[in-house]
């Protein structure tokens, strides 16, 4: 102990092995990759259900979108380096969400185009993960629906299925024959995903399972789906009461199409949803109301794409409702 010379500066060897850092020195963050892996895990049940129902055809859509998305992400990273690294898994989750909404018979070039619009235009062009103003997968689906309406046809994709239910999208049937369309579908079929929808966005029960997984891990906030369901069900009830002939019961709207997928996976996207609690709730309600209005009064069959995009654009506005800063006048 005699060699102690504490008033002398530390030798370089002392500094070599130590981190120079300020607090906090314990953190619960594990990196962006973990967040996206959790989302991936939450999407897995619906993927499995889709593969069980549709067989290798579903697997083809999932596989192609993931491969294309990763390749395009790598290419974009090579050409225009940014801090949004491919290794953060965001393109994988986005690609799966895109695949969920694509029809089962989407040709490879449609998937490639979709991935291009999603990764390069929707995500990278706006500055990568965390920078985009609209959910890239939804944006890409919107572009595809506008460009190739004939190819984005779920009814055509599933016309050969050997199911007992009406082989047409529930909401399309509802639009053409009115509320009597409800009698052509069983609740259990709708819940278990035996309905005409995208590759996997109709797997209501399994998507609900994944959503609950994300909720339990606090990966998404309960205010978003809660607000969404309140907005959707209230609007649907009002519409149903006003014209029971044209509008089905609220539950039918809830279980058909990509409603549950939208509630747990599309509007809850970290980047495009508001941050504060009250705005999150308002955002959920807004998305629900918009969805019902689009379904009720527009040409679109399943309005999730445009409801999400419109709600995304309102998100920064809603986030202006913020709590008063405590100690703000302390200058």
């Amino acid at each position: 102990m005699k060699e102690l010379k504490m008033y002398q500066p530390a030798r370089p060897t002392d500094a070599g092995m130590l981190d120079v850092a300020v607090g906090p020195h314990c953190r619960i963050g594990n990196g962006l990759a973990l967040i996206h892996q959790r989302w991936l895990l939450a999407l897995l049940p619906a993927m499995a259900g889709s593969c069980y129902l549709f067989g290798p055809a579903a697997l083809r859509v999932f596989g192609l979108s993931v491969c294309f998305a990763i390749a395009l992400d790598l290419l974009a990273e090579r050409l225009a380096p940014s801090r949004d690294l491919t290794s953060n898994w965001s393109s994988v989750t986005l690609a799966l969400m895109l695949a969920f909404m694509l029809p089962l018979n989407a040709p490879w070039w449609l998937i490639l185009t979709g991935c291009f619009f999603m990764v390069v235009v929707g995500k990278k062009l706006f500055g990568g993960v965390g920078g985009y103003p609209a959910q890239p997968a939804v944006l890409s689906i919107a572009i595809l629906q506008l460009s190739w309406p004939g190819r984005m046809d779920n009814t055509g994709a599933l016309k050969d299925m050997d199911w007992q239910v009406a082989l047409v999208e529930p909401l399309r049937l509802l639009k053409s024959i009115g509320a009597s369309a409800e009698s052509h579908y069983q609740w259990t079929d709708l819940l278990l995903g035996r309905q005409v929808a995208g590759t996997a966005d109709g797997m209501v029960l399994l998507l609900l399972l994944g959503g609950l997984f994300l909720l339990v891990l606090r990966e998404i906030q309960w205010q978003l789906p809660a607000g969404f369901f309140i907005g959707l069900l209230t609007t649907a009830t009002l519409l149903h009461l006003s014209d029971p002939e044209a509008f089905a019961s609220p539950l039918f709207y809830l279980l058909s199409g990509g409603t549950v997928f939208m509630a747990f996976f599309l509007i809850t996207d970290h980047t495009t949803s508001p941050v504060n609690r009250v705005p999150m709730f308002c955002y959920g309600i807004l998305a629900g109301v918009l969805l019902m209005l689009i379904r009720g009064y527009s040409q679109h069959v399943d309005g999730i794409v445009y409801a999400v995009l419109l709600a995304n654009l309102c998100s920064p506005l809603l986030d202006m409702i913020k709590p008063t800063v405590k100690g703000a006048e302390d200058v």
């Binding site: 010379k5 504490m6 130590l18 300020v22 963050g29 504060n276 200058v331």
Partner: protein, 439 residues
Amino acid sequence: MQGLLKIFSSKPVLPAVPDYDPVIRQLDDPEQVTIPLDYPGHIHYLPTVKAGDRVRRGQVIGRSRLGNCTLASISGTVRDISTVWTAQSVHSPAIVIDNDGTTAPPPEEMLDGPVPLGDPFGALARIREAGVNPPWRLSGRDYTDGTIANLPRIEAVIVTGIQEEPTILTSQLLLEQRADTVAEGLRRTRLLLPDARLWLTVPEQLFTWAETRFAEHAEIVAIPDQYGGRIERELVARLIGRRIPNRHSFISHGLIVQDVEYLVAMVEALDGRSPFLQKCLTISGPSLDQAVTLRFPLGSSLRHILHSQGLSIEQFTRPVVGGPMKGVAQYSDLTPITYNSGLYLVAEDLSPFDPIAPCIFCGRCTRVCPARIQVHLINRMIEFGQIESTHHLHPEACHECGLCAYVCPAERPIVQLLHFCNHEMSLGERHVWSEEGQQ
């Protein structure tokens, strides 16, 4: 496998109290102590000894302009008056004392007898002479004469029987083990400041016990185990019903926030039993089985403390003085430890996977912020150099509790960015904050 487990790991929890050993262990005197003379908050002591002098334990070796003293914590020879980097990264002049093995006089002889109870000026003089922090946050704040005269009346006293950081257990243990002295200290504080409100914060599990022991002297406040409920500025704001600006000291608003350890030291000094020469400190960390609390002479080096427990700095990547949330990692084990009460040892590699990963706007920082700042927005604005845009979001309300960076999934340096922003503003290079308000 580990990665898979991480995916399933549950929701964020705040850091909480570790397992601990309730015994406060007394350490031997070190071979050498370094007594720094400057502290944060404009505290400056001037040395009253010079190199080569022999000093004895308890002798005054430095004195501030107001008469506060710093004492030699061991007997020996003044080796040098040099400079040292203190644990708070203050480059400070310091007195280095070599232990020469002479036995010190017993502590009772260092002070001349008890101070009579009804003598406030005698009490103040004794507190200063004994090296105890006067009953406010940091001792000897070197005010100019005008500010000293203009200090408001003391209206509230908060005695903290629990530290802000959950890993620091010194106050809690002293509260339990020296309950009589604490009660005596509260009684004397009440005598000296009859009009002031007096609070004692205690851990939740000790609340009923504390009610029976201290309720006649002070209001008892139960504090939760988790860091979120312990943040000092928030606690103070809750108790006194108003917020004290972050740049002001508590005393300038008529408030004293004092730790139990200094309350006990004050009682001992007033009774003439001992000056304040020894400090308690809790060592904890993820790699240690249980937290250990030690008592050692002021100014002992980190190396002395670690070696006494069979540890050495080579085993760790971050020896943090303070707690995990607000502490400062040391780059050397030669740092002298003075008024710090915690040591948090980290052995694993804590560096983030990406030094500045992109923010994904998940908003956890904003939702966890106790001051309700829009952290996610400010954080991005600073990152892209738009410090002026942060005006209306009030980054100056940040008191750097560290919760935002604690919950950030991308492990971004959020506290540092906010600190940088406030620093730029207070420097006035880009924008001026003044006492009167925004300009």
